[in-house]
């Protein structure tokens, strides 16, 4: 069977499964809709968190990004996993003890202030929309590349599916669909990696394979007998050097910048509302701790495989394209040329493809080959000549990654509108049934807006992703942390801290991304910290403001201090009733 047939079969089966789950797990109460009645098993919650977390970008783009960045790419690997250690120890269990449905609600209750609740819900909506825009586009892109339908058609199909299970099932439907989506995406990611690792090194574990020696079969596959017995990374370092690049295992970015980006991504992860609310869905405090552990285990499976794919795919790509006559180019190269992800421009007129430093369309450089980062994952199975069903899996996996993240984000937006805005502030006397309709309606509207972002992608999406993490790091992380670990943290401190954190980060990023993009380099950054890493500084400013302002303003009321105290212990201690 052809790749196209396999893609249709595997994607069709996975979609049927998602729809079946959505019908089986309909939400009946607001508790169902916002927090799946707090009855999700920690292992399942771990899987759902994994799917929630791993987006279209993690699945499709990350390995390719790393393959270009070399060791510097490690800020993605450490930054997007290390946050779970913080979640498990600093946030998850205590938020579960609090047990209410949304992050703006926690913020509003803990800091006894509707202004903080509104500020938090605006942040949550902004962060989630920033993120969801890329997901719907990702759905369209996967559809168009693997199934030959247009990007817009793909976005519409994705929208319809998410609309169906998010409005019907709420958190409950989303959770169980995400469990299935995790299974699909991890299988789709690991199988090609395992095949390739065996092909090159004989080691079935890609994480070890990238540090192993190339076998005789691997050398034959690379068409380079001298490769036999060399370590994979040694081989790639040699290739990089021959092409005029720095060694793959060396770092180019200033270490201070890598440090700040890693920290910003970690605390940003711990401050993202769609991840935080997952801890509301488990039955007990100790389940919140263990489900963070499972989540990280499931995430690390993909995140430790990504650098292996980066190493194998880059080696393979260069070896099968560089110095090869275009007329003898492998068939996958010509297939993917149609999508614009790879390309060739014969600058020196010799009919041979040459890879070098610099842009392929810049006449001054010697590089003749365009390599889009996404090709490293999307075409990887074809480059490695794997069977067609493995190639077909990639499409289903990419869709699972994009849809699951989109659904989690849409739920945050929907809950922010129905629960934090309508129920809490605009119309407190509405019934549960009414609130549920608001929740479904808001989810529906949010899906449509997300779909529009997918069809008409705003050009600034890539720029504002730094915003999402920076904002989460500078606003939610410090306030939630202090809210749990410092009983005396008060409303005034939190307001000033959040405002200063948000304004600082927004100003710094806007300046370098929009006002003066030509200055966006390490000579102009403050202390060599890029906009991607500035969230760390924003968080520090937030902490300082909270502490200083808190010293000069009244302590929180006794019942708030008691509430904070009760969050710290599991068991029968009752949370005092809150204002609503």
């Amino acid at each position: 069977m052809s790749i196209l047939t396999w893609t249709w079969i595997l994607t069709g089966l996975s979609f049927a499964l998602y729809i079946y789950i959505a019908i089986a797990a309909r939400a009946k109460t607001t508790g169902d809709f916002y927090a799946a009645e707090q009855s999700v098993h920690p292992i399942l919650n771990g899987m759902a968190t994994g799917a929630d977390w791993m987006s279209a970008a993690s699945f499709i783009s990350m390995a390719g990004l790393i393959s270009f960045l070399g060791r510097d790419g490690s800020f993605y690997l450490m930054g997007w996993t290390g946050g779970y250690v913080l979640l498990a120890m600093l946030f998850g269990p205590y938020l579960r003890k609090y047990g209410k449905f949304t992050i703006p609600q926690f913020m509003g209750d803990r800091y006894y202030s509707n202004s903080i609740r509104v500020l938090s819900l605006l942040c949550a909506i902004f962060v989630s929309f920033t993120y969801v825009a890329g997901q719907m586009r990702g759905v369209g892109v996967v559809f168009s590349r693997f199934m030959g339908v247009s990007i817009n058609m793909g976005v519409v199909v994705g929208m319809a599916l998410v609309f169906f299970y998010a409005t019907l099932g709420g958190m409950k439907g989303i959770t169980y669909t995400q469990v299935a989506q995790y299974c699909v995406l991890i299988v789709a990611y690991l199988i090609p990696a395992i095949f390739i690792s065996i092909q090159f090194t004989g080691n079935p574990i890609p994480q070890l394979g990238m540090g192993s020696q190339i076998t005789a079969e691997g050398a034959a596959f690379l068409n380079d007998p001298s490769a036999q017995g060399k370590y994979m990374l040694e081989m790639l370092n040699g290739i990089q050097k021959d092409l005029g690049f720095a060694a793959y295992t060396s770092g180019q970015r200033p270490r201070i910048d890598v440090w700040f980006i890693t920290m910003s991504l970690m605390i940003g992860t711990a401050g993202l509302p769609h991840i935080l609310i997952r801890f509301f869905t488990v039955p007990k405090m100790r389940d919140a701790r263990s489900s963070a552990g499972y989540a990280l285990l499931f995430i690390a499976l993909l995140y430790t495989t990504a650098p292996a794919i980066a190493v194998f795919a880059r080696t393979n790509f260069v070896k099968s394209v560089h110095n090869v006559e275009y007329t003898k180019a492998p068939s996958w190269f010509k297939n993917w040329e149609k999508t614009g992800l790879v390309g060739w421009k014969d600058k020196n007129g010799d009919g041979i493809m040459q890879i070098a430093k610099g842009k392929w369309d810049d006449a001054k450089t010697k590089n003749e080959v365009k390599i889009d980062q996404d090709i490293m994952v999307l075409a990887n199975p074809e480059i490695a000549k794997l069977p067609n069903w493995v190639v077909g899996l990639i499409g289903a996996g990419g869709l699972a990654a994009a849809l699951s993240t989109a659904a989690g984000l849409l739920l945050v937006i929907s809950a922010a509108i129905s629960h934090d805005l309508m129920k809490a502030i605009v119309k407190p006397d509405m019934t549960e049934k009414e609130e549920l309709w608001w929740a479904r309606g808001a989810a529906g509207v949010a899906v449509c807006i997300a779909g529009l972002f997918g069809i008409y992608p705003p050009g600034f999406v890539a720029q504002v992703v730094a915003f999402a993490f920076g904002l989460a790091a500078a606003s939610f992380f410090p306030c939630i942390l202090m809210g749990i670990f410092n009983k005396k943290a008060n409303k005034e401190g939190a307001l000033v801290g959040m405002a200063v954190g948000i304004i600082f980060v927004a100003a710094y990023i806007s300046y370098f991304k929009f006002v003066a993009p030509e200055l966006n380099n390490k000579d102009h950054w403050w202390f060599g910290i890029s906009p991607e890493g500035i969230g760390t500084v924003g968080a520090a400013l937030n902490f300082i403001c909270m502490w200083v302002v808190g010293k000069f303003t009244p302590e929180p009321p006794q019942e708030i201090q008691d509430l904070v105290g009760s969050l710290r212990y599991p068991g029968k201690l009752v949370v005092p009733p809150t204002s609503h």
Binding site: L77, T249, K284, M285, R289, A300, P307, P576
Partner: protein, 88 residues
């Protein structure tokens, strides 16, 4: 109603804070210290085909993170039992 933590529970919280501090120290050490600050120095050593610093940055930190949450979960479950506050 108001909830006043007894001395027992304050001791529980203190022990929890110590456990968190130890775990976060290791978290910081493997990622920010070994994976970033002294990565070039560590790269002088090889384990198998990996330069050591590169390994910490690409794989080692992540593996340690998983182990850290696991030991935290076990320590806290033990602590819950010790202070008799475990749930169900």
């Amino acid at each position: 109603m108001s909830v006043h933590a007894t001395k027992e529970l304050q001791a529980y919280w203190k022990e929890n804070l110590v456990i968190i501090a130890v775990h976060l120290a290791i978290w910081f050490f493997v990622s920010f210290f070994c994976g970033i600050m002294i990565v070039d120095q560590l790269d002088a050593y090889m384990i198998g085909g990996f330069p050591l610093g590169f390994w910490f940055a690409n794989q080692g930190s992540l593996v340690t993170f998983v182990v850290l949450i696991t030991t935290y979960v076990f320590s806290m479950n033990h602590l819950d039992k010790k202070y008799d506050v475990h749930e169900g």
